[in-house]
């Protein structure tokens, strides 16, 4: 039977929980808040701890709950103004590119550009401009390279949901890059 020892939580788990959170919400202050919140909730429900799992697993499961709560919150507030999809939806043209959304030519899209610091900064600011829920899913998948089914489980979304979000995030990123970099 495992016992809880809250006085040691900070030393033992705070770094791990913090990194776990930061990887998902990518905001320093927010991560601190969520971790703090997790510890406090854990204290409140300490009575319910049955000792079936280790202390750490138990804390992580609470943390996951907090992250989902956060995701739900931003999901209901933001992103209501949906991006229009790129395609016709009727008639013979179904599934074709709309004239105005056609990808534009990107000048000097060369390999060596990838090393460019300014371009790197530009992509960072473009990602920051994404609606929060798109940014969260996109970053988890692309930057933290977390597996699709893990993300779906953690955020309680379906995989087709995830792909739509990824596609929209990518569409917005390309537009942002087009406006601020390639066709400047």
């Amino acid at each position: 039977m495992q016992k809880l020892d809250p006085n040691k939580w900070i030393d033992k788990y705070s770094d791990y929980l913090f990194k776990y959170t930061l990887a998902r919400v990518s905001d320093y202050e927010l991560s601190k808040d969520i971790v703090q919140d997790t510890f406090f909730s854990a204290l409140k429900s300490a009575k319910n701890f049955e000792g079936k799992a280790t202390e750490r697993t138990w804390l992580v499961s609470i943390l996951k709950r907090k992250i989902i709560d956060y995701y739900r919150k931003i999901n209901s507030k933001k992103g209501k103004a949906e991006v229009r999809m790129n395609f016709y939806n009727d008639g013979d043209n179904e599934g074709d590119w709309l004239e105005e959304r056609v990808p534009q030519t990107w000048d000097n899209m060369a390999e060596k550009q990838l090393e460019n610091k300014e371009l790197q900064n530009q992509i960072n600011s473009c990602i920051d401009k994404l609606p929060e829920k798109y940014a969260m899913v996109f970053k988890m998948r692309t930057i933290q390279e977390i597996d699709t089914d893990v993300i779906c489980n953690e955020l309680e979304i379906t995989s087709s949901n995830l792909w739509v979000i990824i596609h929209r995030a990518r569409t917005q990123l390309r537009r942002c890059l087009e406006d601020n970099w390639f066709n400047k």
């Binding site: 006085n7 705070s14 990194k19 204290l43 790129n86 074709d96 992509i123 692309t142 792909w163």
Partner: protein
């Protein structure tokens, strides 16, 4: 058989996004490449998508380097510790 190889741009783009994460199936990749033969726009989209992925991967590597040193400051930890002790005694 041939009908299955014909896909719309919408489907092509979806496969293209998936393949950025190595999640497109072999058959989907064949469909995609056949579509590329007759659609310049999707070819362009795909190239740019690859570029975007590489950009993000660079960022990913940068972030990982930075994150190693990133955690809560000792002061913040100390504060949380006291807060937890206070609340724990009350319980």
């Amino acid at each position: 058989m041939f009908k299955k190889l014909n896909i719309t741009c919408k489907q092509a783009v979806a496969i293209c996004d998936k393949s950025q994460y190595k999640e497109a199936t072999f058959f989907e990749k064949i469909q995609l490449n056949i579509h590329f033969l007759c659609c310049k726009i999707c070819t362009k989209y795909s190239k740019q998508n690859v570029f975007l992925t590489k950009l993000c991967r660079n960022k990913s590597n940068d972030d990982k380097k930075k994150q190693i040193s990133l955690c809560m400051t000792p002061g913040e930890k100390e504060f949380l510790k006291k807060e937890i002790e206070k609340r724990y005694v009350k319980e």
